[in-house]
Each structure stands twice: as C-alpha cells, then as structure tokens.
C-alpha cells in the first residue's frame, strides 16, 4: 500500500502529482464556500465594536486586543475570500494558500471550531507539495514531489475519522442517541426565534426520529451507523474494489452532517470529501 510504503521509503514513493493538484482546486472551493457563507446574514458586521462578538472577545482578551481584531476583521475576511479563489484557480497557489491559512487561524481567535482546524490543516498540507500546478492545468507526471503532502493530508483525515470514533464511543450521550436527538429537536424548537433561516429538517424525519425514549432508541441506530462508517471509510478508500462504495457512503454521510448545520459545516464536508482523492496514489 502506497501509504505505508511512502513512510518506509522516506517519502520517495512516486505518486501522481495530479492528486494534490485536484485536491488544491477542491480545497479552494471548500474555503470559498466557508468564507462566503460566513458573510451571509450580516457576517460582514460581525465584529463591529459594541456588538456581542466584540464584547465576548473583550471579556476574554482585553479591550485593546478586541479592538485590534475588530479593526482588522473586514480586510482579513476580504483577503482570505479572494485568496481562496486564487487557490482554486491556481494563481500563485502557495502564497494564496498561506493567505487562506492565515485567514482560517484568524477566525479561530473569535470562533474556535474543530471543522475550521481541519480545513486549516488541509490547506497547510498544500504548502510542502513540490508541484501544486498552475491554473487548472493538471500534471500527468508521476513523481515523489507531492508524496509527503499527500501522505500528511491522508494521515490527518484518517485521524479525524478514527479519533472521532474513539471519542464518540466513549461518550454515553452520543452512543445512546441522546446527543443527536437533543441537537436536532433543540434546534427545531428555537427555529422560529432565529433571525434568519439556518437549516431545514424535514417534518417526516422529525416525526420518525422524535425525542421520546422510543425516538432516541432510533437515534441510537444513527449514532452506531456513524461510528461504523467513520471507522470503515478510511480503510475502504485504500481498496480499489470497494472505493466507489466508500466514496458514495462518504458523500451521504457528509451531506447528512452538513444538513445539521449547513452554514457551519458545508466547507468542512467539501474539504473532507476532497481528501478522498488523496487516498489514491
């Protein structure tokens, strides 16, 4: 298997340069989706002085730092949005990726989310690649130029899935189905109080999977299925015979995740699905 061979060979195992180049295009799309969705519904005004986010930052970091972050917010989110387009289009891809990475870490200051960390790490994996390509031209070369970058991104995706499984299995709240039931029905309960429409949970789903004890038992099946799929997908992606199934199931799984909290998760789901390309040498 190329993944294990590559570490044994000190990352001199040849891989197709095109994998990381396709991945670069898609990770740019993921970042563009995340950054543009963050601007929806008054996102441009989010860090205004006197607003809640500024107040929360002030409590955590002090007035001077909160003021500094507020003052730099708009330039940073504008630059990172443009840089994400440049990553996709292959315009100075390494510099653009660095700008995107800076924008993602900047976001972590005022909104710490694990899905942002994952996307940031995927973007960081582009930096050591030997050939990120230019524009939309995809190389047909097979070399070790991108092997380490490809290995790191795959390693992080495997860790994302398997560590997620480890932590979920040890959480009685998740394993019982209670967490999923609370999230969906809690969100549905406050839906009409939200200033903007953030999600749509089909009525049939809410009825079939309610938050009664019987409904929670059904949610438990969803939780257990998630565990099994998250465990199996990384292995199946390495096996050519079952890879198409793994990709299809991964798309369904990440679409389901994205439906839970669309604006927050869509970029993450695209980034995770983009990483599937890298499981092929």
């Amino acid at each position: 298997m190329w993944f294990l061979d590559s570490i044994a060979s000190g990352f001199s195992t040849p891989t197709s340069e095109s994998r990381v180049q396709y991945f670069r295009i898609l990770i740019g799309v993921a970042c563009f989706a995340k950054f543009s969705l963050a601007l929806l519904y008054r996102g441009w005004y989010r860090l205004e002085r006197g607003g809640y986010t500024h107040h929360a930052l002030q409590q955590r970091m002090g007035k001077d730092q909160a003021d500094l972050i507020s003052a730099t917010y708009r330039p940073v989110i504008a630059i990172r949005l443009l840089a994400s387009i440049a990553v996709t289009c292959g315009i100075s891809p390494r510099i653009s990726a660095l700008l995107v990475l800076g924008g993602l870490f900047y976001e972590l200051i005022y909104e710490y989310r694990y899905n942002t960390i994952y996307i940031a790490l995927m973007v960081a994996c582009l930096l050591p690649a030997g050939n990120l390509g230019n524009g939309f031209t995809i190389s047909d070369q097979i070399s070790s130029a991108n092997t380490w970058a490809q290995f790191l991104a795959v390693l992080i995706t495997i860790d994302l899935y398997w560590n997620g499984v480890w932590l979920k299995v040890r959480s009685p709240q998740f394993m019982s189905g209670l967490l999923l039931a609370q999230f969906v029905h809690g969100a549905e309960e406050v839906k009409d109080r939200l200033p903007y429409r953030e999600f749509f949970y089909p009525r049939a789903l809410l009825k079939a999977l309610d938050d009664s004890p019987a409904g929670i038992r059904k949610w438990r099946l969803s939780a257990q299925a998630t565990i099994i799929l998250e465990l199996a997908i990384p292995i199946a992606l390495f096996v050519p015979q079952v890879r198409p199934w793994a990709i299809s199931i991964g798309i369904i799984l990440h679409t389901a995740f994205a439906l839970l909290k669309p604006r927050g998760i869509i970029g993450f789901s695209i980034a995770t699905l983009a990483s599937y390309i890298l499981f092929v040498p």
Binding site: I7, N163, L178, F199
Partner: protein
C-alpha cells in the same frame, strides 16, 4: 549524505512528531486541542426565555437577536456571556429555561443577570 536524504529525514521526523501528537492529544489526553476531534461527542445547550429591563419596565428579549447568525446551540457559559452583554444593553436580565445535557434535561434560571443551573 545528500540534500535529498536530509529532506527525507526532516519529513520523517515531522511525520513522527505529528503522529505522536495525534496519539497524545487525541487518544490519551482527550484535550480538545489541535489534532483531537471531539465534534458531536458531548453537548450541553440551553433553551431560555429572557426578560430584560430595569424595575417594572421589562421586555421579552430574544437571545438570538444578539448572537452572531448561525449560532443556535448555546452552552451555559455562552449564555452567561450573552446575558452579560444584554444586561449592558438593556438592563437586568431574568428568565427561565432548560438545559439539554448528557444527563437529559434540567431547569435553568437566569436571576439578576446570572445563569443559575
């Protein structure tokens, strides 16, 4: 030793460090730091009805009008932060609600701008 050997050695070293960190923070410490992934593993959120104002002139306030858009699952600590903010903007905050946590549900009270569970 060639330049290629040095680069290869550096790549292997960084990879081993990354792997060790993954194991340490993800599987041994469960710290929630970078390279551990506790998404959707434990959740604690609140659903509250709040009133704000001074003395008799109080009005209902919608907590989501103050939060950034996209936030709809608020933890008790986030609730305290937003209550502090509403208290500055609108005056003293009081209210009741429920906390959804790993033990199920329990009542939550906001009294004199303090979240009491």
């Amino acid at each position: 030793m060639t330049r290629a050997d040095l680069i290869s050695a550096a790549q292997v070293s960084v990879t081993v460090l990354v792997l060790l960190r993954m194991i340490w923070v993800g599987f041994l410490r469960e710290s929630g730091k970078i390279l551990s992934w506790p998404m959707f593993t434990i959740g604690c959120s609140v659903i509250v009805n709040l009133k704000a104002g001074d003395d008799e002139a109080t009005e209902n306030v919608n907590v989501f009008d103050f939060l950034p858009s996209g936030e709809f699952a608020i933890s008790p600590s986030e609730l305290q932060l937003v209550v502090d903010y509403i208290a500055i903007e609108r005056g003293q905050v009081n209210g009741t609600g429920r906390m959804l946590w790993e033990g199920g549900e329990k009542p939550i009270i906001v009294e004199d701008s303090h979240v009491v569970s």
